[in-house]
Amino acid sequence: MSTDNISTSQLLSLGVSLSAYRIFTNLPLSFTHFFGTGAPLFSVIAGLIFFAVLFFLTKKLCHSNSENIFSTAEKTFGKFGKYTLFILFWVYIFLSSAFLLSEFTEFAKLVAFPLSPRWFVAIFFVIAAALAALSSFDALGKISTLFVPLFTGIIIFFLATVLFQSKPENLFPVLGTAKAETLPGIFSCLLIFSDMLLIFLVMPSKNIKKPVQKTILRAFISGFFVVFLLVLTYTAKIPYPLSKEESFPLYLLVKEVYYGRFFQRIDAIILLISALWGMMALSLNIGLLAGLSKALFGIKSHFISIFPISTSMFFAALFLSSSLAHLSQFLLGLAAAALFAGILVLAIFTKRRRQTPNEN
């Protein structure tokens, strides 16, 4: 799958999708666990930290004469650097996909399929994502451009409705349970945005018409706004400490949407949105993993690499079910930290070539 023909709007939609899809999971609750009523404030701080780092990374790694991130790694650190980054990306994407599949399966079961076995729900996500991964990034980008703005708009509308019906007093005390011991927790909260690092694999290295950095940062800000709105609404609606006992905050909030007797139970829509969004994110991950596997193991066929990846992801997701949710989150956190450190080191040591007038 080549990303060279991906347009700015497609990159923007994919960026929003990557930075916001974890609102369907339990990860937004980590702000509540660490900071109680201070969750919205600390989500802003986490967003600012991530934005600052993303700004630095994109400034160093995304410019009109930039190459593929692996070529940059090879030029800076040789083959060792390239393959280390390959492995870091591969491990992170695999764990992230397994976590994603596990959480979306749980979410779909909660919303609509309480009697269905987990494997039955998960298999739909895997098959649809694997079939979609056979197509090009261009197709995925087009689907994202179509659905992500629509779905984001619907979710913002739902959350704003609940926010207006909630109690603003629940947002106080504004610093919540923050203490010196809990402050490092903000780094574990950054996990919610960590898939944004995959944008370095998705962004085009050729045919760049508009500044990629601006597009990526704009995508992150849009995705962050959705995450912030969720954390804000959840904190305002579900009083602390009850809020830290709950799970799947988005579902809980959407259940609260009530426009009167004739327009209620609209949480059914969220099943459609979560399923399509989950499949889009999963197919992107499978596509990226297949691409990395091709490069790492020398597999020539895209189709051949997708089948074992999807199957192993399916079993990993079943293994990392709700009983092992903490373990999967811990492993994902480790993989994200390692990948993050890897890209940061690359960005620090890489030398940006001076742009010649003929380039771009």
Binding site: G36, T37, G38, L110, A112, F113, P114, L115, S116, P117, F120, F124, I127, L131, L134, S135, K167, E169, N170, F172, P173, V174, L175, G176, T177, A178, I238, P239, Y240, P241, L242, K255, E256, Y258, R261, Q264, R265
Partner: protein, 392 residues
């Protein structure tokens, strides 16, 4: 090729998977519309399930309605099961019901005041976590039997009991009862020290048995009123404090609660005529927002401001009043005094923070621990109330 494979996959999915797990046939489902929970023998509870009988709501070709098994209420079937646990009781319904029991249309949960408060809390939390149960359903307390309340429900001018419950408890037209939603109740009782109130579900004849709150001499209350029916009614409210039932408030106090919390937008109050105490003067009061509470911790003072539109409901100006404005001011003064009396009673006598004033001072603290350590109870019990009801 890819498109063909994908199309085939979609086709087979839609054809073969519709009858898989989570299949629900509407004619194979029995919908619970109300649930009553009473105390039973030893560790058992008495669960009253009220099922909707859709066929009974439909009129027969002769124009007669089919009869259900509810007492005089054909649109529902009520049955009571004694069991140690809600789920055992729910499972037991299928011992004689062929249909699957579904709670997605549950509209009202009534608890008997005789069951332990922890039972109310536990069951409310449990039911809220049920996927089928909506968070907006109503919850009420019956002073005696929840089962009796449900059996005596006989919707007037309404053929659908489910709709009746929804309109009765969620529409803001019942000025003498507080409406309470399940999710708000669970939020309050689960959080330590939070107070909340629930409407009282009883029969019309028992209205006079209510404890009467303190009074302002010129204020006319509905305490002496009586509904000539023993059908079920919602009237008054009980106070939950720290997860325990502490006291009851009568219909008049519930009306003032609704007035301050803006749960009711439009109400009529009656006061005695200053110059002719045998005459009553009635006024319509319209509110557009909840009362504003401001707390001054240093001065130990709670200020309450409510803006309203007051109008005299009479064809001519009574003797002795120079203008309608003076008459309205007189009524407002009495309303001010009655609201002060109500707030003082809630604070001093019942020590019940039903307006959740505890939350109003949250913004004065930066950290949760500081706010949690603040001794609100002492402050609330000794605070002075300043009430200002303004005619806009």
């Amino acid at each position: 090729m890819k498109t063909k494979i994908f199309s085939l996959f979609l086709f087979f999915s839609t054809v073969f998977l519709t009858g898989c797990y989570d299949l629900k046939e509407i004619d194979e489902t029995a919908y619970i519309v109300a649930l009553g929970i009473d105390g039973g023998d030893e560790n058992n509870f008495s669960y009253t399930f009220q099922f909707s009988s859709p066929l009974a709501i439909i009129e027969t070709p002769n124009g007669e309605k089919k009869e259900g098994s509810g007492e005089g209420n054909p649109s529902v079937t009520t049955l009571t099961i004694t069991a140690p646990d809600f789920y055992i009781a729910k499972n037991m319904t299928n011992n004689f019901l062929s249909k699957n029991v579904d709670m997605s249309h549950l509209k009202l949960i009534v608890f008997s005041a005789k069951v332990d408060e922890s039972v109310i809390t536990k069951h409310s939390q449990l039911l809220l976590r049920e996927r089928e149960v909506r968070p907006h359903i109503s919850i009420a307390i019956s002073p005696d039997s929840a089962s009796d309340y449900l059996k005596k429900v006989n919707p007037e001018l309404e053929s659908n009991t489910s709709k009746y419950y929804e309109l009765m408890s969620l529409r803001s037209n019942n000025v003498y009862a507080k409406s309470q939603k399940l999710h708000d109740f669970v939020d309050s009782v689960t959080i330590k020290n939070h107070d909340t109130a629930l409407p009282i579900a009883t029969s019309g004849k028992k209205l006079k048995d209510f404890p009467e709150d303190s009074r302002v001499s010129q204020w006319i209350t509905p305490a002496s009123s009586e509904i000539a029916t023993d059908h079920s009614i919602l009237c008054g409210m009980v106070v939950f404090r720290g997860g325990k039932l502490t006291s009851a408030m009568d219909a008049d106090s519930s009306m003032l609660f609704n007035f301050l919390s803006h749960d009711v937008e439009n109400l009529v109050v009656s006061v005695k005529d200053k110059y002719n105490p045998n005459e009553t003067l009635s006024f319509r009061i319209l509110t557009s927002r909840p009362a504003r509470f401001s707390i001054n911790l240093d001065k130990n003072q709670i200020s309450v401001t409510q803006k309203c539109e007051i109008s005299f409901l009479g064809s001519h100006l009574p003797d002795g009043y120079p203008s309608k404005q003076a008459l309205c001011d007189y009524a407002l003064n009495i309303l001010n005094a009655r609201v002060s009396d109500f707030l003082l009673s809630a604070s001093r006598t019942q020590n019940a923070d039903i307006f959740n004033l505890r939350d109003c001072i949250r913004k004065d603290f930066l950290f949760w621990e500081d706010w949690n350590n603040f001794d609100f109870d002492t402050f609330y019990k000794t605070a002075n109330f300043t009430v200002d009801i303004k005619n806009t």
